[in-house]
Amino acid sequence: MALIEIENLSVTFHTSGRHVRAVENVSLKVEAQQSFGLVGESGSGKSTILRAICGMAPITGGQIRIDGKPLPTPRGPNFAKQVQMVFQDPYASLHPRHTIDRVLSEPLAIHGQTGSDAKIEQALIDVGLPPAFRFRYPHQLSGGQRQRVAIARALMLRPQILLLDEPTSALDASVQAETLNLLSRLRTERGLTFLMVSHDLAVIDHMCDRILVMQHGRAVEELSREALATAAMTTPYARALFTASADRMLEG
């Protein structure tokens, strides 16, 4: 049984009399410890799917099941222990007036967990940051270091699933490489399941086993990693996206 099952998911936003159908009838399955990628242009609904899983988008149809169980609304504390999200912009996703210590201890406090001292130090070490960073503020860290803190925060409750929304697109190439390496290492060490959104086909290809191409809120084509590498896509849109990314091919 797949760990994440999304069946005919639709998300519709209502704004000033208009209906915006951000996601329409999208289905996907992610097996445990697999890494699944969503690609598409901005506005294709890929981030909305992640937000819908977290209960941050109005679901108007379909069902999301984690570990076979439909998700409760509101999501509740058990959901937070199972699923966590890392956002795109590390400058915006960390509270500017909270120290790293406070950012990392908050999930533990909310869930009534003890031993936060040791856990925070370990969390920083796990993401490759010196424990002395604990009492710094986000503005005292670089973009890459902030994204490491955001990853550490997401892992504080030891979730099985990480939802990654463009985790490296705000970072320089060299920092992107370090962050991707960190995510890969954590996935192997902890047996995590990734659902990852990116507009960069090369990043998705590097990280994911299977890929869903999206356009205008609909699923266009699901590809295996092999199919992507050998350009075996069948729909014109997936091919157009691939052609536009041709400079990211191995030999390029």
Binding site: L180, N181, D205, S245, D247, R248, L250
Partner: protein, 276 residues
């Protein structure tokens, strides 16, 4: 003939903890061609672009042995002389449409403002030119865009509006600072072909600032690679993927590739010698 010549450009910021050198002795010549400047954030590429227009506010200082544009000395130019150059002869497309367009002014008024002020165009004339400029950057519904506020446009549209605005006075040199970083790959290709077309048909010079090496390799004629305020390597764009300098090679190697191995990506080894 050389359009722009920069010799030993330095940009220094005086801070409480002493001077910080953002650009340290950059020299290059530009003809009517596409010159790419690449580097990581903080490498001084944006500051180089801004310095050409003398758009660096105190406490920043610009020094150069020479900086000439079309025979005119930019270092000695007075503020009114610079004002005549900015926009009309040298235009700059800034990085982020969210911060560079006026949020409380309709796109149309922003496009027409320069035409009315600079060229003393009549309202109808300015409107016609603005509409034509929007069409030139492939905006399908220019009337609607003219009447929209910047927040009502997507990132890609905003970016194209900025390019349109800069192209109205038909400049000789366009400095584009990450003009496509907010765009999806397919829209990116569109915007690049618009710029490319302008370089070819109008004979414009282009300085293309980007952190995306592969994009620059594909799009530009010549590339400067910057690291910590210095040019570490200058080469023809087609040779970028066979770069000699270890920094350029490192930047290329740490990029993931479609169909590449799943092993850890090589980290960039920052060697202090490069910066000296």
């Amino acid at each position: 003939m050389t359009l722009l010549s920069v010799k030993n450009l330095r940009v220094t910021f005086d801070t409480e903890t002493g001077p910080v050198e953002a650009v340290r002795g950059v020299s290059f010549d530009l003809n009517r061609e596409r010159l790419g400047i690449v580097g990581e954030s903080g490498s001084g590429k944006t500051m180089t672009g801004r310095a050409v227009l003398r758009l660096i506010r105190p406490p920043g200082r610009i020094e150069a042995d020479a900086m000439t544009f079309d025979g005119q000395d930019l270092m000695k130019a007075s503020e009114p002389q610079l004002r005549a150059l900015r926009g009309r002869r040298i235009a700059m497309v800034m990085q982020d449409p969210k911060f560079s367009l006026n949020p409380v002014m309709k796109v149309g008024s922003q496009l027409m403002e320069g035409l009315r002020q600079r060229d003393h165009a009549s309202r109808s004339e300015a409107r016609a030119k603005a509409l034509a400029a929007l069409q030139a950057v492939q905006i399908r519904d220019p009337e609607r865009v003219m009447d929209a506020y910047p927040h009502e446009l997507s990132g890609g549209m905003g970016q194209r509006v900025m390019i349109a605005m800069m192209l109205i006075p038909d400049p000789d040199l366009l400095i584009a600072d990450e003009p496509t970083s907010a765009l999806d790959v397919t829209v990116q290709a569109e915007v690049l072909s618009i710029l490319d077309n302008l370089v070819k048909t109008r004979g414009m010079g282009l300085i293309f600032i980007s952190h995306d090496l592969r994009l620059v390799a594909r799009f530009c004629d010549r590339v400067l690679v910057m690291y910590k305020g210095k040019i570490v390597e200058e080469l023809a764009a087609k040779d970028l993927l066979h770069a000699k300098h270890p920094y350029t090679q490192g930047l290329l190697n740490c990029l993931p590739r479609i169909g590449g191995s799943r092993e850890a990506l090589p980290a960039l080894d920052r060697n202090a010698d490069w910066a000296s």
